[in-house]
């Protein structure tokens, strides 16, 4: 599902990071660990096609991301990769439902209210469906972010420090949700984190030096 080969990224200050090759099977769940400064977020952006590597290749569902044009890459990402960020951001002027609809339409799908309702149900926040996102608590926001990452049934879900802003209780809940939902959708899950609380939950680990 997800493969990298000889991935290298050079920052503007000429600092170069070489990443180990990764190979994740379909439906597997991975933890990407490393101290800050080891390029965790950079790697996640490279995997998600948000940033282009100077060297090496990223394959998602056997598609090499670098071979796609900018617009095609945006479309591909929208359809096949769901990303959850550390801070959940939304389109401020829209409600929870509208944000999820936007994710559907931007990926080129038509809006599917049933899918949205079902997801929010599973994540136990269906009562917030018509609320503005800025009126939700941190934990609720992170759940909506998970719903948004899942809404187009992507094959790959990337999460960048999804729990670092959450307390223990919320942390466990969010990880549980990510894990079960990814499994139910049959999606590959890669979580980038330095949060040691998560180590217990996952068997597969990639450690960046």
């Amino acid at each position: 599902m997800l493969r990298t080969r000889q991935l290298e990224y050079t920052y503007p200050g000429n600092k170069t990071i070489t990443f180990p090759d990764i190979k994740c099977e379909k439906g597997s769940q991975w933890l990407l660990l490393g101290q800050s400064g080891t390029g965790k977020t950079t790697l996640l952006h490279l995997l998600g096609g948000i940033r282009k590597p100077q060297k090496g290749k990223v394959y998602v569902a056997d598609q090499e991301l670098n071979n796609l044009s900018s617009t095609a890459l945006d479309q591909f990402r929208g359809k096949n990769i769901g990303i959850v960020f550390q801070q959940s951001h939304f389109v401020q002027s829209l409600t929870v439902r509208e944000n999820l609809q936007l994710a559907q339409t931007l990926a080129g799908h038509s809006a599917d209210p049933g899918r949205i309702k079902n997801l929010l149900d599973r994540l136990n926040i269906d009562d917030k469906i018509n609320d503005r996102t800025n009126r939700l608590s941190q934990g609720e926001q992170q759940r909506v972010a998970i719903a948004r990452a899942l809404v187009n049934s992507p094959g790959l879900i990337l999460a960048d420090e999804p729990t670092s802003a959450l307390d223990d209780e919320n942390c466990k809940e969010v990880i549980d949700l990510l894990e079960t939902q990814a499994r139910e959708e049959g999606a590959t899950l890669v979580i980038v984190t330095h949060d040691s609380r998560l180590k217990a939950f996952f068997d597969h680990k990639i450690i960046l030096q």
């Binding site: 977020t41 952006h45 998600g48 948000i50 940033r51 900018s70 617009t71 945006d74 479309q75 990402r77 929208g78 359809k79 990303i83 960020f85 801070q87 951001h89 939304f90 389109v91 401020q92 002027s93 829209l94 509208e98 609809q101 936007l102 994710a103 339409t105 931007l106 990926a107 080129g108 809006a111 948004r148």
Partner: protein, 459 residues
């Protein structure tokens, strides 16, 4: 979720900013549209009322004032001229003059002017006909314009009393012995004719003579005009105008009495040239041949060699336009500045909102939106401002014009419509869209260039 809904929701999320920007844009557009509407309608009215009049002859004074008062019935007249001075112009065999129509500005009724003239004013100058009744014939008979009829509810057979001057302040309402009697109502012509009460010159004289005599010592008046006038005078004093009951005419003997007396005193069939010592206000002239050099010389020779003043309406109106033009130009420039500032405010509004929404935009890219989509989205937001501002502007303009039209009608003696639309307003829409587009261009380009990865890591 289509881009238009998204732009709308984005803007609606900042209602104050949006309101301010829209108001500014609407004011600019509205002011320009108002100027267009006013200018076009004024221009039309002035042109309609030129009515093929080549020259106006009247008393010395301001030529523009003379034109405005005798052709457009806006200003006060410059004074009077005596018939013997203008007698040659009435000669039907005059080599240069095809038509000479006398105008005597009399009193007014409910702020509509009463004009003493000849039938040629209606037949030959405006080429209009009566809608009902007939043109005036006898003394005190009037034919009224369509607007006069609708605004005053005067009907054929009604009688009314005029007031001095043109202001209807209710103080100067006098009983001039007799009332005028409506004998006809003119077709609606969209010219100044709609706003006039027309009668013959002799009626205007009669009203004023009557009044002049009343002002003299009562003794002298009675001596001069024998007992007929004395009765009129007596009637006048005990005649309660407001309590005047029209159905009560039979019992009120003065009406029938006075009428016959006046008609006996002034048989009005006689041409004006038979009254060399009487005055009229102006003479409207149409040349036989406009291009004849003698016609072209006529105004100058009148102005230089006589106590009269001659002025060409076309020239004077052009002069007025060029004078007013400075004002309208200034207003138009002001409106343009407002529109440009509002364009700037669209720009600032989008630009500052983009700062707050930078992460949002990066996020939308992550969700599958292309660079072009974001560019298009921001442009759409600019155009949305422009269209809404334009609509607000048109609304302001037309409702403002509808409100103004009452005041303008009083000031210019014309009806203005607030709900007429002009093709220039389509140009205005085009202009608004261009401004909205230009204002959104830089923010849109910024959105286009958003670096997703950097934005997502920095914020």
């Amino acid at each position: 979720m289509n881009p238009l809904t998204l732009s709308w929701k984005n803007q609606k999320d900042r209602p104050l900013q949006m309101l301010l920007t829209l108001l500014l844009f609407g004011l600019g557009v509205g002011l320009i549209a108002l100027l267009i509407s006013l200018n076009t309608q004024l221009d039309e009215k002035f042109k309609n009322n030129l009515a093929g009049i080549d020259l106006v002859i009247g008393a010395k004074g301001s030529p523009l004032q003379m034109i405005l008062s005798s052709m457009y019935h806006i200003d006060a007249p410059t004074g009077n001229i005596s018939i013997k001075e203008v007698k040659p112009f009435f000669n039907p065999k005059h080599p240069l003059i095809k038509l000479a129509v006398p105008m005597s500005l009399g009193d007014s009724y409910k702020s509509f002017r009463i004009i003493g003239t000849t039938h040629e004013y209606v037949d030959s100058i405006f080429k209009e006909k009566v809608a009902s009744g007939k043109l005036w014939e006898g003394l005190y008979e009037v034919t009224i314009g369509a607007t006069v009829a609708s605004k005053t509810n005067l009907k054929i057979g009604d009688q009314f009393h005029s007031s001095h001057g043109f202001a209807d302040d209710g103080i100067n309402t006098h009983d001039h012995g007799d009332g005028f009697k409506v004998v006809g109502i003119l077709n609606k012509s969209n010219t100044v004719l709609d706003q006039l009460i027309l009668t013959n010159t002799q009626s205007v004289w009669a009203v004023h003579d009557h009044e002049a005599e009343e002002k003299k010592a009562p003794a002298a008046a009675t001596e001069e005009k024998e007992n007929d006038h004395a009765t009129g005078q007596e009637d006048h004093t005990d005649h309660d105008h407001s309590a005047h009951d029209h159905t009560d005419h039979a019992g009120h003997d003065h009406d029938a009495h006075d009428h016959s007396a006046h008609q006996a005193a002034a048989p009005i069939i006689k041409p004006l040239t038979d009254y060399p010592d009487k005055d009229i206000t102006t003479l409207l002239i149409r040349y036989r041949n406009k291009k004849d050099w003698r016609s072209l010389n006529m105004p100058r020779s009148i102005n230089e060699n006589t106590d009269l003043q001659a002025a060409s309406p076309a020239i004077e109106m052009n002069r007025l336009y060029s004078m007013m033009g400075v004002g309208t130009d200034a207003l138009r420039n002001l409106a343009l500045i407002i529109v440009i500032v509002s364009g700037l405010s669209i720009f600032i509004s989008l630009f500052s909102s983009l700062k707050d929404r930078k992460y949002e935009l990066a996020l939308m890219r992550v969700m599958g939106a292309s660079r072009n989509y974001l560019f298009f989205l921001i442009i759409l937001e600019g155009l949305l401002f422009a269209i809404l501002g334009y609509l607000l502007g048109l609304f302001l303009c037309h409702s403002g014009m509808a409100l103004l039209s009452g005041y303008l009608e009083e000031a210019y003696q014309y009806e203005f419509s607030g709900w007429r639309f002009f093709k220039e307003e389509l140009w205005l829409l085009g202009g608004s869209l261009v401004i909205g587009f230009i204002a959104a261009l830089i923010p849109a380009f910024q959105a286009y260039r958003t670096d997703i990865s950097e934005t997502l890591t920095t914020y």
